[in-house]
């Protein structure tokens, strides 16, 4: 169930090997016209992507998930922190070095309807992706073969049926597959998938997710899976990280995070997720008993201390002033942590398990 040791024969890659690391990643967007104000979109985010593992990033809308992905893809210059590819710090903006980076780290955009150029065929999109990264093969035949192979990887077969279509002639799921194929054309080591299924219909969603899971297995990709559908994170990700208002608040293996959420925000999130089983007479979790669970905070002037404290039912004096560091959550062994003062005392067990 966790961290499958399924290294394919002949390959030297070690599953679990670190590919991409972010350390203290920070991004502030200036707002207004030249004013000193900034949006604290991402603050001090640390994460690690490993070969053959899917890391989910969940959190409410506007919490900075996409920004993290774009920072990792080097699409935005970062305000602070470090990004390391195989342990080596990289900062690239454009040109050859950017291409070299893009060859190893690829991003899939949130919206398959918007991320393909409506004026170009699928062939154009994929050919460009192959050419840029020198994977187009020898001559016409080589290219043709590469294209077929690529579409095969994302189960769009036969390739001829799709190659000369325009994006608008494909269904959402097919488009999302093309977007994934484009990312795979670079033969990357890390794939940053920004809400790859949120725009898709229920029946198509599953197909794309299964495909991602399969690719991870087969190609030993390191995948960052961004979503706010926690249930899908539970299903497809090995690890899950929770973001709130630009900060990481909890992380650990998916099963622990979703089944035994530690941070009050995570608990709110999980409690809020629709759950058909509730009607079967279950009591509402205590997080939801309050009249109003509050509004997300302003990121221009984020709350001091723990950013969740104005909405937190368990807020203490300390939360107001001091930023909580990461604390290990005691009862689960596999690196489950939370940035919450509740776990500062060694004996915080009684709060730890509310669900």
């Amino acid at each position: 169930m966790t961290a499958g040791q399924t290294a394919t024969e002949g390959q030297t890659v070690t599953v679990g090997q670190t590919v991409l690391e972010a350390d203290g990643l920070t991004k502030h967007f200036p707002v207004g016209r030249r004013g000193g104000r900034v949006v604290h979109a991402v603050d001090d985010v640390t994460l690690t992507l490993r070969r053959g593992r899917v890391t989910a990033l969940v959190g409410e809308s506007g919490s900075g998930k996409s920004t993290v992905a774009r920072l990792l893809a080097q699409l935005y210059p970062r305000t602070g922190g470090d990004i390391r590819l195989h342990g080596e710090s990289v900062t690239v903006r454009r040109g050859r070095r950017f291409r070299a980076y893009a060859r190893r780290v690829q991003m899939i955009f949130q919206d398959p309807f918007a991320s393909l150029n409506p004026t170009h065929t699928i062939r154009y999109h994929l050919t460009r992706a192959l050419r840029i990264h020198g994977n187009a093969g020898e001559g016409r035949a080589g290219l043709e073969q590469a294209l077929t192979e690529l579409l095969g990887k994302v189960s769009l077969t036969p390739a001829e049926r799709y190659l000369d279509k325009y994006p608008h002639e494909l269904s959402g799921g097919q488009r999302q597959r093309v977007a994934i194929a484009r990312a795979l054309a670079a033969d990357p080591e890390a794939l940053l998938a920004d809400e790859p299924v949120s725009m898709l219909d229920v029946s198509i969603r599953l197909g794309v997710l299964n495909l991602l899971a399969e690719l991870k297995e087969r190609l030993h990709l390191a995948v960052l899976y961004i979503t706010h559908d926690i249930a899908s994170a539970r299903y497809f990700a090995d690890d899950t990280l929770v973001m709130y208002a630009g900060r990481m608040v909890e992380g650990g293996d998916s099963e622990s995070v979703t089944q035994h959420p530690a941070h009050p925000y995570t608990r709110l999130l999980i409690a809020s997720a629709p759950d058909p089983d509730r009607i079967l007479g279950e009591v509402l979790p205590e997080e939801l008993n309050d009249e109003d669970t509050g509004e997300p905070p302003s990121l221009i002037a984020p709350p001091s201390g723990c950013r969740f404290h104005p909405r937190c039912p368990a807020a203490m004096e300390r939360c107001h002033d001091e930023l909580p560091p990461r604390f290990d959550v005691p009862d689960s062994g596999t690196g489950h942590w939370a940035a919450c003062w509740l776990y500062a005392e060694p004996a915080a067990g009684k709060e730890g398990d509310a669900a």
């Binding site: 207004g32 016209r33 030249r34 004013g35």
Partner: protein, 326 residues
């Protein structure tokens, strides 16, 4: 506030750039006002008079272009636009004062009429699209493709041919003394009818088209459906919801058109011999009358800038979304 300051800086820069261009461009023209004056009077003024004119215009003293430019800027800063050559020694300001009201009166009224009726028609056509109203569209398109001066000349010819006593030139009846009396105003209105009609007719289709297209676009917005769902009266949905939102691009178009008033009317003024600023421009170009030309350029530039400023302000009022900057 910062937004306002920034706009202001932009306007100042544009004004300066335009003034500078307006200063140098007329001076590229070869020849001088004295020769132009003689040309205008083909044979009526003797070559002998030339010297007196050079002295009169102060052109007998040579001055470098740069000195002229700085002198001009200094003059401008005092609100002095100089003295016209062709109408020596009348100050440019006086000429502008006497011709501007005609253009602004004519063109502005025409613009207003064309804008309001065009926009209204566009609203109706966009709202009741596909109705018989829509058949107006190709007709107005055709009309707007015709050069306005051509329509004007034809109009005049037809009126003269049928022996109509409708006035077809000038700003008012020759016998009248300008003043705020009924006879004069009536005459002014009567005299402006034809040129205004022509301006209106040839410019309306643009308004109709853009408004109609915007209405169609806005018409499929969700909030329109919501307005219907709310059971609001149709007229309220049409005007307060659809037209109100669709109006924005037309407003900036209006500002732009307002700025182009002089350019747009100038042929009409020539064809209808209307004593406005367009007519004056033509005379000034013919007479190489730099001071007057500069004055006219300055005025038109100011028009555009003021119009743009108004459009900005109107946008602030019409579209609350733009208000968040500031």
């Amino acid at each position: 506030m910062r937004y306002v300051l920034q706009r202001l800086a932009f306007y100042l820069f544009t004004a300066w750039a335009a003034i500078t261009i307006n200063f140098f461009v007329p001076r590229l023209v070869p020849g001088d006002p004295v020769q132009a004056l003689i040309a205008k009077n083909q044979g009526q003024i003797d070559t002998r008079s030339m010297h007196s004119l050079y002295v009169l215009f102060g052109l007998d003293k040579k001055q470098g272009l740069w000195d002229q430019y700085t002198a001009y800027l200094a003059q401008l800063s005092h609100g002095d636009l100089g003295v016209s050559f062709a109408n020596f020694p009348t100050p440019v300001l006086d000429i502008l004062k006497s011709s501007l009201p005609w253009t602004v009166g004519l063109a502005f009224c025409a613009l207003l009429i064309s804008f309001t009726t065009g926009t209204l028609l566009g609203v109706l056509m966009g709202w009741w699209r596909g109705s018989r109203l829509d058949s107006v569209l190709p007709v107005t398109t055709f009309i707007s493709s015709i050069p306005p001066f051509w329509v004007g000349a034809l109009m005049i010819a037809v009126l003269v041919a049928v022996g109509s006593s409708f006035p077809i030139g000038q700003g008012y009846d020759p016998g009248l003394v300008p003043g705020w009396d009924g006879a004069f105003i009536g005459s002014v209105v009567q005299h402006s009818l034809l040129p205004a009609a022509m301006l209106v007719v040839t410019s309306m289709s643009g308004w109709i088209l853009s408004m109609r297209n915007m209405m169609v676009t806005v018409g499929s917005e969700d909030y329109i459906t919501v307005a219907h769902a709310k059971g609001l009266r149709e007229r309220r949905v049409m005007f307060s919801y659809a037209a109100r939102n669709a109006l924005l691009p037309n407003v900036s178009g209006f500002a732009l058109a307002f700025g182009q008033i002089v350019g747009a009317t100038f042929l009409v003024e020539i064809v209808f011999s209307y004593p406005g600023i367009g007519y004056q421009t033509m005379q000034a170009v013919g007479a190489t009358d730099f001071p007057l030309l500069q004055g006219i350029f300055l005025v038109t530039t100011m028009f555009v800038l003021v119009a743009n400023l108004l459009a900005d302000v109107a946008y602030l009022f019409l579209d609350p979304r733009t208000r968040k900057e500031g």
